[in-house]
Symmetry: C2
Subunit: 252 residues, 2 copies
Amino acid sequence: MSKMPIPPPENAPAFSPLYQQIKGLILNSLRLGEWKPGEGIPSEMELAARFRVSQGTVRKAIDALAGDNLLVRRQGKGTFVATHAAQYVQFRFLKLVPDSGTPGSEGPAQRDIVECRRARASADVARALALRTGDAVLQVRRVLSFTGTPTILEDIWLPAAPFKGLTAEKLSNYHGPMYALFETEFNMRMLRADEKIRAEPAIDGRELLLKIPQGTPLLSVERISYTYKDVPMELRRGYYRTDTHHYHNTLS
Amino acid sequence: MSKMPIPPPENAPAFSPLYQQIKGLILNSLRLGEWKPGEGIPSEMELAARFRVSQGTVRKAIDALAGDNLLVRRQGKGTFVATHAAQYVQFRFLKLVPDSGTPGSEGPAQRDIVECRRARASADVARALALRTGDAVLQVRRVLSFTGTPTILEDIWLPAAPFKGLTAEKLSNYHGPMYALFETEFNMRMLRADEKIRAEPAIDGRELLLKIPQGTPLLSVERISYTYKDVPMELRRGYYRTDTHHYHNTLS
DNA sequence: CAGTGGTCTAGACCACTGG
DNA sequence: CAGTGGTCTAGACCACTGC
């Protein structure tokens, strides 16, 4: 034992490259809203001067953030804060696509808000949103229809505090992705999400809203969306008809 | 019209950065088997000398290939050709995970080959594998069980020629991922795959192999796997029980 | 044309691995 | 300790965008 070299302290400060520290600083500015979604951030040269590092180091930091889909680079124009409102990411979090045709080829989905009310978090909702059982939440239920056919039923739970003022009317009147509304109205950005996918029979009234026979197999998609610092901000249970659409995924 | 500037030629040779060309050269060596899966490739300095470019340019090329999961970098050791045999990618293409526990926490899956025979490609199989209807294919059917419970039924179609000699016995005796067997026995590397996921009732005898009631909703996962140059090499239809497991996906 | 991101180079040094 | 990948810098030049 006495010959063992002294180990590094218990929580040894792991080596952190400069560009990762710069990434953290930019991330902080993003979180604090120094630049809003859709806006451009300062040029690489400006940021290099600001942080007293070389352009290459800023570049690596921005590359990492662009890889995380937090920033979007556009040659000749600048670097911009990613937004769910942008056309080219209209369906960034929706992986259900028509069996024939391309995503969005059916035109915009028809969105019907079935319900939007305050409620108390059940045990599992509370766990997903890092709340306590009984805490106030907003519960939204909506149906998305493509070419007239109800295809997606979604139950959505949001912590009540950050989304204070969200109403069925606001949801109905807003034309664009729900997450874009969250950005502009509530300053809440959904950055990442985990999905758990199962096959379940249509029951509990879901068959009625989707106008299908009871027991029809549905794709059940439970999504937890996260904002900055991996804080969970939305629980969404989606039920997808998969007779004319499918969930698409790429493995690599 | 006469004031319009002369447009570039119809198929203007799009500008291709040097590092992308280097990427193409390395890709070529990989495809020709100059380095086998699991082996190390030459160091960045060596490759830089070989291609007469700077280390930084080779670095960008390797970064891109590592991003595509074709190479794996290991600091201090070298850069290695990715393989499905490696421990840390044991489940690279299998996204079904137990509801509680981590991927692989149930120990190795029990694999039972139900069938392995030559057949002729139906129209849809032919289309998926870029063959012609009636071409020879190998058809494999197997059941994967976790902790004794049959959980996955897979029907697999492979073009007969590249997989000549594949038998049920070889599949049964090989302990490791099927794609690792493909690498070592048939020099065939699965690099990428697309999956189409649906919910379907268990019918056509699938309920018997999975020992569940007829009509139970199953997750239907149709996968087409590709090798180099985006050539399709496998069609796989998987049927997953999702009462104790779920398909996990991350969105960003 | 100026300003932006994108490429390429050359060189120095650091962190990790193994003998 | 030598060899590998990883970081950082400084500077030159290129491709794209918009005025």
